[in-house]
């Protein structure tokens, strides 16, 4: 039967339906602020968003968005290559290029489209793509469409990457290496200095997905490549407007002038409607704030450190280093689901991640910090996690 393959998912959804709130697709009734909302009748601290700089509710972004809607209407109703290139889109591309200090930028309707589109287009049937094993779904989807030979390297392993480039021989020069700045599930930062050195040695190309690191890392917020000091080695950067910039959309930038030609070959760019001008206007304003208010990044990292240290001191199995994404790992599925419900009942909304979305067979409660979280909110989150330990719904790392 055509639908047999969906049965396991249907069974899982039925299991979760025993409660009125489901961890996947819980409905937000009201957004109170960047860090608080009402989810299916319960007021909660939002600790599962990617609103890293807290800009989704910034009055300047809202005002810019409202003004653009009044000026340009609610949507473009067409592709960038047809009727959908408004002055707003072109201005944002120029500002993104200027922010990164490069000549070219492309604005996409979503971050997924940006990453998938670039990964599907830059390398083709005669080329090779070397991607990190823990790459985001948009990367896997894109490379599958590229027609290139696709090879995985072990997650964040420069040695494994070098080994695979060596095996390729002359083909290394036709290889696109893909890494992410911050990996979305566990919040770990890629070893970009080592990756860039290997890329240089073998003459390959490098694409870095800064979806979770743009606005978060680097002296001016350009991301992990800037923080690692290897921007000159990066051939393409892709990212999103839906995280630190608090809206929706995606981008690609490059120091290669060819990017402006590549744009006419990206199906995810051509065959979809362009972003609403109101969205673009809010992104432009958010980008100005990123440039002018570096203290937001400092607050974000202070908050991340407070949560990370708090959960680690409880003995919970968190990652090896502080990151705006703080994931708590569970080996037991039922325990992870029960823990999510208890956190929700305690007024804390986090992301439940189950395999294969998680990078191993483990389950995750994925917390993401925002510059807008208050110390009191973070302490409330830590207290809620302590409640999991008290209820036997989490296992301290030392006891694992």
């Amino acid at each position: 039967m055509l639908f047999d393959k969906f049965q396991a998912m249907a069974d899982f959804q039925t299991e979760l339906s025993r409660r009125d709130v489901k961890p996947f697709g819980a409905i937000t009734d009201e957004v109170i602020s960047a860090t608080e909302g009402v989810v299916q009748g319960r007021r909660v601290i939002l600790a599962g968003t990617n609103n890293y700089l807290g800009l989704s509710y910034d009055p300047r972004c809202i005002e810019a968005s409202q003004a653009a809607a009044a000026q340009w209407g609610t949507g473009t109703t067409g592709s960038r290559l047809a009727n959908g290139s408004f002055a707003e889109h072109v201005a944002l591309e120029a500002e993104m290029a200027d922010f990164y200090g490069v000549g070219q930028a492309i604005v996409f309707s979503t971050g997924y489209a940006a990453t998938m589109g670039m990964c599907a287009t830059v390398a083709g049937p005669d080329d090779v793509i070397l991607l990190d094993a823990d790459s985001h779904s948009s990367i896997y989807s894109g490379v599958k469409l590229s027609g290139a030979e696709i090879i995985r390297y072990r997650h964040s392993s420069p040695d494994d990457l070098a080994k695979r480039l060596r095996r390729l021989g002359d083909r290394a020069g036709r290889t696109l290496v893909i890494a992410e700045g911050i990996y979305s599930m566990l919040g770990d930062v890629a070893p970009l200095q080592e990756i860039a050195a290997i890329k240089r040695e073998y003459g390959a190309y490098l694409l870095v997905d800064e979806a979770h690191s743009m606005g978060v890392l680097g002296e001016t917020g350009r991301g992990a490549a800037q923080a690692a000091g290897i921007e000159d080695d990066v051939d393409f950067i892709v990212g999103t407007f839906s995280k630190s910039l608090g809206a929706v959309g995606g981008f690609a930038i490059s120091r290669h002038a060819i990017l402006d030609t590549i744009r006419y070959c990206i199906r995810a760019y051509i065959f979809t409607a362009s972003s609403s001008p109101s969205v673009v206007a809010s992104v432009r304003q958010a980008l100005r704030i990123v440039r002018e208010e570096p203290e937001r990044r400092e607050r974000l990292w202070d908050n991340a450190t407070r949560l990370y240290n708090g959960l680690r001191e409880l003995g919970l199995p968190v990652g090896p280093a502080v990151s705006p994404v703080v994931a708590v790992e569970f080996t037991d599925r039922e325990q992870a689901i029960a823990a999510w419900y208890q956190l929700f009942d305690s007024g804390v909304y986090v992301n439940l991640v189950v395999p294969p979305a998680s990078p191993s067979t483990n389950f995750l409660l994925r917390n993401s910090m925002s510059a807008a979280h208050t110390p009191q909110q973070i302490d409330h989150i830590i207290t809620a996690y302590r409640g999991l330990l008290d209820a036997g719904l989490a296992t301290p790392k030392t006891a694992a």
């Binding site: 696709i150 090879i151 695979r164 095996r167």
Partner: protein, 92 residues
């Protein structure tokens, strides 16, 4: 490793039997159903490997034979024999 190398000598140089023996041994640790593992054993259908276990098998095979197995070929790999043949092709 030496054992597999010796087997290759009895393999007309093609290595297929070597790869087969290597895979059968490697798969024993995933043999939850205690089936007899051979050429026709299905990696998912008979052994019930998860996608993560398949990738672990691929990585161990890559390390052992110093090859990279492209993801593109995996849709054609259903049985142990399929994977052994792919290794043979990749090693030329």
């Amino acid at each position: 490793m030496t054992t597999f190398g010796e087997k290759a000598v009895n393999d007309n140089g093609s290595g297929y039997q070597t790869y087969l023996a290597f895979l059968c041994e490697l798969l024993q640790k995933h043999n939850r159903q205690q089936v007899t593992i051979g050429e026709s054993t299905g990696l998912v259908t008979d052994l019930g490997l998860s996608s993560l276990e398949v990738m672990e098998l691929i990585e161990q095979t890559e390390d052992h034979f110093d090859i990279s197995i492209p993801l593109n070929i995996l849709p054609d790999v259903n049985t142990v024999a399929d994977l052994a043949q792919k290794i043979q092709q990749l090693r030329g």
